[in-house]
Amino acid sequence: GTAAYTWRGKVTLDRSSYFTDGHLYLSDEVAMPDVFDYSVSLGYLKRGLQVPVTFTQQSTLGGGDIRRQDMPFVSNRMNYSRVDALVHYVLPRTRNLALRVGAGRTVSGRNVGQATSFTAGLLYTFHF
């Protein structure tokens, strides 16, 4: 597992005011809320087969919501929980070539899309 706390400063916009979180700010500077995120992986490992399942959570510590019919904003509170699974299988009779198939889904969130993703690929490893 990993965990990280990201301190964020300010960003400067091209405009002189902005509306977010219920207020009109008469400034071109936006205070960015900090972000905390962590992920935990559990899995199966035997010979050429690895099957990690990862749970990731991101929490933005502050920020406003996207209003209906409005544009998203740089300091929006973007939270999500996501589960990803991957099958990593080293093909028999090769040492270098692995097949990778994965899927992930955002299971809950705030101001983020509920995305489902699939990946498939081949991994070739160079041994020196």
């Binding site: 964020r8 509306f19 009109l24 205070a31 209003r67 409005d70 544009m71």
Partner: protein, 517 residues
């Protein structure tokens, strides 16, 4: 081991620095800091300045106040002293907040309300559109949709009503000449700037009353918050030693009475019919097609009816309906002409070759959904000049009223032209044009930004001649920003600026002889 020890100390130090740096670097720099108002002049003759909608101070009788030596007045003074002895930190904060001047504060509050309500209604599941209902403001969609014409009208009603109410107040102030409480009794602390301006009726209470009643009409769903602000303004006037309870009561009643005249005007100014109906939207397209032109169509999905097609028939402040038609710009190049092809190509090329600077200009003046709109942007610009000029409340109100009348009239004139020609946007004629900013849902010719900006520039340059070149530069930048954004042709911008300049001239002609100079 030793190396690890050093590096972990370094890491701890870096972490501490990041924490400290992170904590203080997030203070954002406000672009509109307002100092305590200390006006250069009290404008003692403002009660004689020419009226716009009202007939004069006599329309609103204000009874004479109690004598300064009377028992009733002494009791009011004693009440202020008691209240000052028990003042809370929150009340002191409210005094600081309002000490910059009610006209400037209400302008900021109004811009926030416009930004909050400037969201287009969501389409229904069956792709039809519904319109906000003033009688059901909390419904979905919320009332109002504070789009640029709605906002231009709102800014003008609030600021013109404030200006007229303050002129009436000034007439009675100097008729009755009752001084500010802290000047009558040394035991009353002056926590705001106290000038020789007579206190009866209280200008703060006039502003609170007139503004609340106009905003109740324009932003009914926000009335609780507005009422709280207005109450805070009156309490600050009393606690700061600037006005007694009877100064405030007379001011509040006067402000409300003046507002009633403006509310009546607003109910009959044509805004109620500005949305139009389906038959009329189709007729507009059919008329353009009959002239041999490609009619405007909504590029939203699902297609949305055009924004306020009858706003061009809403009553203006300084122009008659005949003036509005007379000032309409001549027709744009035909949609089938070589000239139009060339204009479309220019927009396409500009967007394709857009520089970072041009993109910043497009964003700076975008003023789209969720913002105070272009008229609000120009109110923010005016705020800096009004602040630096140290105007009295009544003269500050005059500046905002003049600018906003010109911009309301610009909205009326521009919308009249837009729906007379019903001209398509560049990205309708060439779908390969990728717009940089949101595409407004109404016809192209002429550019609203250019019209608003030119009208505001005319008035502001009259009020603040030293800023004229700055205003003109901002007007030109606002205008060309729409071509950088890929949503207007050059001819929209040029014609809009000329149109706005002529419209602003009507307000300047009034200002030249309203007796304030």
């Amino acid at each position: 081991m030793r190396t690890i020890d050093v590096s972990s100390r370094l890491l701890a130090a870096a972490l501490a620095a990041a924490l400290a740096g992170g904590a203080c670097s997030k203070d954002i720099t406000g672009l509109e800091s307002l100092p305590t108002l200390n006006p250069g002049s009290s404008d003692a003759r403002a009660g004689e300045w020419r009226m716009i909608l009202l007939s004069g101070p006599g329309q609103f009788p204000v009874a004479p106040p109690a004598e300064v030596g009377s028992d009733a007045y002494r009791a009011e003074i004693a009440a202020i002293k008691t209240a000052q002895a028990g003042i809370t930190a929150a009340q002191r904060e409210a005094i600081d907040y309002w000490s910059v001047g009610g006209v400037l504060r209400w302008n900021q509050i109004l811009r926030e309300l416009v930004a909050r309500y400037n969201l287009p209604p969501a389409p229904r599941d069956n792709d039809t559109h519904v319109f906000p209902d003033a009688n059901n403001p909390f419904a979905d969609p919320a009332f109002p949709f504070a789009n640029p014409p709605y906002a231009a009208r709102a800014y003008s009603y609030v600021t013109v009503a404030q200006f007229e109410a303050l002129k009436v107040a000034w007439a009675y102030k100097y008729q009755y000449n009752r001084p500010s409480p802290s000047r009558v009794d040394g035991g009353v602390q002056a926590m705001m700037t106290v000038t020789d301006l007579p206190a009866y009726p209280s200008e703060d209470a006039v502003l609170s009353g007139v503004t609340t009643e106009i905003l109740r009409l324009l932003f009914p769903a926000a009335i609780e918050e507005i009422t709280r602000k207005a109450g805070e303004e009156r309490e600050a006037a009393l606690l700061s030693g600037r006005a007694t309870a009877s100064d405030i009561a007379a001011g509040l009643a006067l402000g409300r009475a003046v507002a009633a005249v403006f509310v009546a005007r607003a109910g009959a100014d044509g805004m109620g019919a500005a949305v139009g109906n389906a038959a009329q939207w189709q007729a507009l397209a059919a008329a353009a097609a009959a002239r041999g032109e490609t009619p405007w169509k909504s590029l939203e999905t699902p297609g949305r009816p055009p924004m306020l097609p009858n706003f061009g028939q809403v009553r203006a402040w300084m122009m008659t309906p005949a003036d509005v038609v007379k000032e309409r710009p001549t027709a744009p190049p035909s949609t089938s002409s070589a000239k139009m092809q060339q204009e479309v190509a220019e927009v396409k090329q500009t967007v394709q070759d857009l520089t970072r600077e041009q993109m910043a200009i497009a964003y700076k003046w975008n003023d789209g959904a969720g913002t105070p709109t272009p008229p609000g942007h120009w109110n923010a610009i005016a705020t800096e000049y009004v602040r630096d000029a140290r105007f009295s409340e009544v003269r500050a109100a005059r500046a905002f009223a003049l600018v906003n009348m010109a911009m309301h009239d610009a909205a009326v004139g521009c919308w009249e032209a837009k729906f007379a020609y019903f001209n398509p946007r560049p990205s309708q004629l060439d779908p390969n044009i990728k717009t940089v900013i949101g595409l407004p849902n109404f016809p192209s010719y002429t550019s609203g930004h250019s019209t608003f900006s030119a009208a505001a520039t005319e008035v502001l340059s009259y009020l603040f001649p030293g800023g004229a070149s700055n205003f003109a530069a901002m007007r030109d930048e606002a205008g060309i920003s729409r071509m950088y954004g890929g949503i207007h042709y050059r001819s929209d911008i040029e014609a809009g600026k000329e149109h706005g300049k002529r419209i602003g001239g009507y307000t300047v002609a009034f200002a030249r002889q309203d007796g304030a100079n």
